[in-house]
Every structure is written in structure tokens, then in C-alpha cells.
């Protein structure tokens, strides 16, 4: 730890602790997950920066969407994202979550993931190298410093929109809304 970081720690301990303790939920959403084992083991040791994989969404605050998202996986992704505690950060890994990538005309793949859950940053490429995860982590640090990694706040503010998009793709969702949907009283009653 640098000596000039001590004043930052005293000024905003929550922000600094969030930066240097990113626990990633180990959820294999697509083919990009194959780049994660080298990142966390001896070759590129992510634990140097406090990034370690954890097994449950309750303990995690970083969600890596690695690779293409099928409609079935989207259901699991939304449930996992909603189970994580705030503050939480999401990073889309690879070109498929950005715009569909090589699955741009597939009938069963989600093209724009940020319509369904908020994304704080993207890593472009097919596949991105493991170093790209480190670049993403350092960018995420900058975003946290500037209070720009606010995906979970955007999710809360625009929950009605996100929920509508989710229901468009998945049909009726079998779990209650995470946040109250105020101006649509009928939908709440039906739940």
C-alpha cells in the first residue's frame, strides 16, 4: 500500500475497501469463463489486487458476465444479480454481451445485456486476454473513485423499465419485484 493512500483511507474507508476487495461471483455464463482460471491462479495472480472468486452471490460484489448470454442463462443472471448485496458492480466480458458478437442473428441469444441488468463496464474482444480483466479492474477502481460505478443505483431508479424488458424476453417472472414498482399498482397486486 502506498503511503499517500492513507489519507484516502481515512477520508472514505468504504470506497477504498470496495476498491481493494472485489470478490467476484464465480458463475460460468459462457465460453469466456475459460479465461478466468488463469487469472486467479499462478500465471496472472488476481489475488494481488484483492480479486478472488467466491461461491455465493451473497458474499460477492463483482459480477463478471463472461461470454454469450442465452435466454435461459439470463434468468439465472438476473436472479444472481438481485441476490448480491449493494454496492455491487457488473462487468460484461467479451463482445457477445455488448452487441451479440458472433451470435448477432441467433434466435436464442440476448444481444444487448444492459437492457436487462445495468453494466458498469465492458471488456471488448473475442476472446479478451486475461490481462484485459486487470485493465477492467483498474478502470473499475477509477470509476468507483469518481462515483461513476453506479449500476446498482441506476437499477433501483429505473427498475420498472428493467423489469419490463426482462418480462418481454422471459415472459412472466416467477419471483417478486426487488424494488416496489410505484406507478404500476396493478402489476404489484398480481404478484
Amino acid at each position: 500500500m502506498d503511503r499517500n493512500q492513507i489519507t484516502k483511507w481515512l477520508k472514505a474507508p468504504a470506497k477504498m475497501a470496495n476498491k481493494y476487495s472485489l470478490h467476484a461471483i464465480y458463475f460460468c455464463t459462457g465460453c469466456g469463463i475459460i479465461e478466468v482460471p488463469p487469472v486467479i491462479t499462478s500465471r496472472w495472480d488476481a489475488e494481488r489486487f484483492g480479486v478472488i472468486p467466491v461461491a455465493t452471490p451473497r458474499q460477492a460484489n463483482l459480477f463478471l458476465i463472461t461470454g454469450y448470454v442465452s435466454v435461459k442463462t439470463l434468468r439465472a443472471i438476473i436472479r444472481t444479480y438481485e441476490q448480491m448485496y449493494e454496492p455491487k458492480y457488473t462487468v460484461g466480458f467479451g463482445s457477445c454481451p455488448i452487441n451479440g458478437g458472433m451470435y448477432w442473428d441467433s434466435y436464442n441469444t440476448i444481444k444487448h445485456l444492459d437492457k436487462y441488468i445495468p453494466i458498469d463496464g465492458w471488456i471488448a474482444g473475442c476472446m479478451p486476454r486475461p490481462e484485459a480483466i486487470f485493465i477492467a479492474v483498474t478502470h473499475l477502481w477509477t470509476l468507483i473513485d469518481k462515483d461513476m460505478a453506479n449500476g446498482y443505483i441506476r437499477y433501483k431508479e429505473n427498475y420498472k423499465l428493467y423489469r419490463r424488458n426482462q418480462e418481454t424476453v422471459l415472459g412472466k417472472l416467477d419471483w417478486p419485484p426487488l424494488y416496489p414498482i410505484h406507478d404500476n399498482v396493478k402489476a404489484v397486486e398480481n404478484e
Binding site: A17, S21, D45, E47, R48, A55, R58, N61, Y85
Partner: protein, 301 residues
């Protein structure tokens, strides 16, 4: 009056010292395991950063027992720390003994089991059942070991055990108790819940078992509780078999040596299945402890 003040200061000081030691051990464990894996490893204060982060995170409760159980387990651990001599800091250990420690040591896993059980997650149930089966496995040799120590020194007071060893040498290297000490070291990974006995909190199989629903401040309290458990089981070994210590610094060094030896086992061995663990625990450590107890009681009479 002055003795009273010193005692109160010691009662406040010893859990804090235990907490600092335990959290330092958690950080050291990650660093040493990383070096054995040829990695650089996290900074030594990484557990502190994690705990700060967890306290600042939002969390939801799963019910009254979910809150109370974790507090119960933390309180139980702190009380055990008060009964353990740490160097010459002996807040309550003159009034209690090994029997009291044995009783209160059960509170920590029990509290975690009660609290986690409220989470109603199938992984938690599997984790708790594994944890309780494992404690059934190591309690038998542990009781035999403690019985041998009590028979040898004709006392249940842990302070007297330490004092006798200060004059006659470490009991680990005395003839009748050598087997018991070896047996305690063999079950130490099971008490600490580190590999090869981490099947209760296996992240890859049952998503970290009892910890599956913990997040935010609950996970922070569980981490602190784990730090206390690390301190207690190693300090008990140092007090019973390595002769305690004249001052806290030497005591800390002895604990460090024992812990690093445990870490070497942790870093290279894979995980047992639960029935393999029971088969191991009830075979070699129990056999050694039993033979040690018989030899001790024959030498005494």
C-alpha cells in the same frame, strides 16, 4: 484494588490481542499459501480490507436466530479466550479449567449452526451436517488427549499445567505425553477446518456450506469468529504441549510456528470426503491418543 484494575485491563485486552493475532494469521495464511502456489499473494492486511468492506455493505437478515446465533458463537469464542492463558496474561484462567474450556468451545460451532440453519438453503444443511459429523470425529481424540494431560499433571487447571511445564520442560517431549501431543497436532486441521478437512465449507461443492447465506456484516462477524477459533485451538496446543510462555511475544512466536506447520499441510493436500475424514480421525489420532492415555495412567500408578 490494584489487582482488580489489572484484572479488568487484562479482561479487556486479551480478546483484542486474540483478535489481532487471529486476523494476522488469516492474512498470513493467504500469503503463505500464495507463495507455495508460486503466486505473489495479497497484501498482509487483505482480511482487514475485506472486513471493512463487508461492514459497509448492505445485508438482509433471515430471521431472529440468524442474528442471535452469530452473536452467540462470537460471545462463546470471546469467553473461551478469557479462560486461556496468553503468555502471562491470565484473566479468568485461575477460576476455570480444561473442563470449562471444553464446554464453552462447543458454543462456537453451535451458534454458527443455529444461525446458518435459519437461512434455509440446502447447501447450508449439507454444510452443517458435515460440520457436526466432523466435530464428532475430532471430539473423541481431543477428549482422550485432554484426559491424558489431566491424568499426567493431576490437575484440571490450565495455569498449573503451564506452570509445571515451565519448571520441568515441554510436555510434547516428555515420554508419556508425546503420543498425545502428536495426536492433537494430527486433529488440529480438523479443528481449524482447513484442508484436508474443509469439507464443511467447500466452496466448489456446496458453495461454502454454512457461509452460503452470509454476506455483509454477517460474513464479517463470521470471519472474526473464524479468527478467534484459529487463536483458540492453536493457543490450547501451545499451552498444553509447548509449555505456554513467560511473556506474550514468545507465546505468539510459538503459535506462529505451529500455525505455519498446519499451513504447509493446508497448501498441498486435497480435500477428504466426510466418511474418509471420519475413518482417518477415528483410526490414527484416536489410536495414538488412546495408547498415550494408557501409558500415562500406568506410569502414574
Amino acid at each position: 484494588m490494584a489487582g482488580m484494575v489489572v484484572k479488568i485491563i487484562q479482561i479487556i485486552l486479551s480478546p483484542i490481542l486474540a483478535l489481532i493475532t487471529g486476523v494476522f494469521f488469516l492474512g498470513l495464511a493467504r500469503k503463505i499459501v500464495a507463495r507455495i502456489h508460486w503466486r505473489y499473494g495479497p497484501p498482509l492486511i487483505q482480511p482487514v480490507i475485506d472486513i471493512i468492506r463487508l461492514f459497509y455493505q448492505k445485508s438482509i437478515s433471515h430471521g431472529g436466530m440468524f442474528d442471535l446465533g452469530i452473536v452467540l458463537s462470537l460471545a462463546g469464542s470471546i469467553v473461551v479466550v478469557l479462560f486461556l492463558p496468553f503468555g502471562q496474561i491470565t484473566p479468568l484462567s485461575s477460576s476455570g479449567g480444561l473442563l470449562v474450556i471444553l464446554y464453552i468451545m462447543l458454543l462456537a460451532p453451535l451458534g454458527i449452526a443455529l444461525s446458518a440453519g435459519q437461512g434455509a438453503n440446502p447447501n447450508i444443511s449439507i454444510g452443517i451436517s458435515r460440520k457436526l459429523i466432523l466435530s464428532l470425529g475430532y471430539e473423541v481424540p481431543l477428549l482422550l488427549v485432554l484426559l491424558a494431560v489431566m491424568t499426567r499433571y493431576k490437575t484440571i487447571s490450565i495455569v498449573q499445567v503451564v506452570n509445571i511445564q515451565q519448571s520441568t520442560g515441554w510436555s510434547l517431549f516428555s515420554l508419556p505425553l508425546f503420543l498425545s501431543g502428536l495426536s492433537y497436532f494430527l486433529i488440529l486441521p480438523a479443528i481449524l477446518g482447513i484442508r484436508p478437512f474443509d469439507m464443511a465449507s467447500a466452496p466448489q461443492e456446496i458453495s461454502s456450506g454454512p457461509m452460503a447465506e452470509y454476506g455483509g456484516k454477517y460474513l464479517a462477524l463470521a470471519t472474526i469468529e473464524h479468527a478467534f477459533v484459529l487463536f483458540i485451538s492453536i493457543a490450547l496446543f501451545v499451552n498444553l504441549f509447548l509449555g505456554g510462555a513467560a511473556n506474550p511475544v514468545i507465546f505468539f512466536v510459538k503459535m506462529l510456528v505451529v500455525f505455519v506447520f498446519g499451513l504447509f499441510i493446508h497448501a498441498v493436500f486435497p480435500r477428504f470426503r466426510i466418511e474418509q475424514a471420519i475413518k482417518y480421525l477415528w483410526k490414527w489420532p484416536t489410536l495414538l491418543a488412546f495408547v498415550g492415555l494408557i501409558i500415562t495412567s500406568f506410569i502414574r500408578s
